[in-house]
Amino acid sequence: MLFLYDAAMGAESEAMSGALDSVRFPVERSKLMELARTFKDPDPLWHDPEAAAEAGFDSVPVPPTATVLADHWRERGATFHAQAAGLDLPRVLHGEVSWEFLRPVQLGDELTAVSSLAGDETRQGKRGGEMRLVTVETSYTDAAGELVARRRDTLIETGPR
């Protein structure tokens, strides 16, 4: 069951092949502050323009995983893609994730994340039983329509117990 859900528009539309969702989100101060503190790095330069300027940055830098902020704009948060791909949540593990950056993400960016299903295969698990591996690709474009980053996730559904 795949469908395109545009959270910003609050509208569902016909799915393109493999399309999961499209969500527009701000890279904002409060969430960057929370994220850095969660990562045990309370340095204000990760959210405060003055502190960042003092450290020599033209704009506030972000952790490389900051595109997770898109998940706040998905109705069901980070598990949305796994659920949209029909995976059984109690058996889902995050296998891999990677980001390619065409330019650094910065405080103030207004990004649009478009995700699609790039792979869905079944493999034999190491401990017996079948594993399902679902690959999700997400592109992030800025307000000017420029591609900023690409992300690729592998979700693993382990065999029934």
């Binding site: 948060g77 109690p90 593990l93 995050h94 994730v97 690729r152």
Partner: protein
């Protein structure tokens, strides 16, 4: 890492093949850390905060989201090479983080080509078990 630590570099650093990041040792992870990441990172998978759900799923207890320790490692990398110099960061989760676990993050340059360093990163727990393997590329001052 703490307030008062040197700020991360802005400009690409003069890193060479074999250079290593000073290892980063975390504090013991707590259930509160997991809940905090649920709130800041938007991951409400109950397996990370709901003890009954985790046990029903066959886990001994709740465990940390991969994106929590991957995020911490990413930030450590950003402090080493400069946040705006990272061009690729990719990780494979190889083990789970349980309450009480202490992780050690390591990173090492494995090659430099055309001003771009290839970096291998890892996280191990207090028993030496692999929790994560990662790769990154970063602009360096060649």
């Amino acid at each position: 890492m703490s307030v008062g630590a040197a700020p991360p570099p802005v400009e690409p650093q003069p890193l060479r093949d074999g250079d290593e990041m000073a290892p980063v040792v975390t504090e013991p992870f707590t259930r509160t850390d997991f809940v905090r990441y649920a709130g800041s990172g938007g991951d409400y998978h109950p397996i990370h905060h709901d003890e009954e759900f985790a046990r029903a799923a066959g886990m001994p207890t709740v465990f940390g989201m991969g994106m929590l320790h991957a995020g911490m490692l990413g930030l450590a990398l950003a402090r080493w090479v400069g946040p705006e110099n990272i061009r690729f960061f990719g990780t494979r989760f190889t083990g789970q983080v349980w309450p009480g676990d202490v992780l050690t993050f390591r990173a090492r340059v494995t090659g430099v080509e055309d001003g771009l360093a290839s970096i291998e990163l890892s996280a191990e727990n207090q028993d030496g078990a692999s929790i994560l393997k990662a790769r990154a590329t970063a602009l360096v001052d060649a």
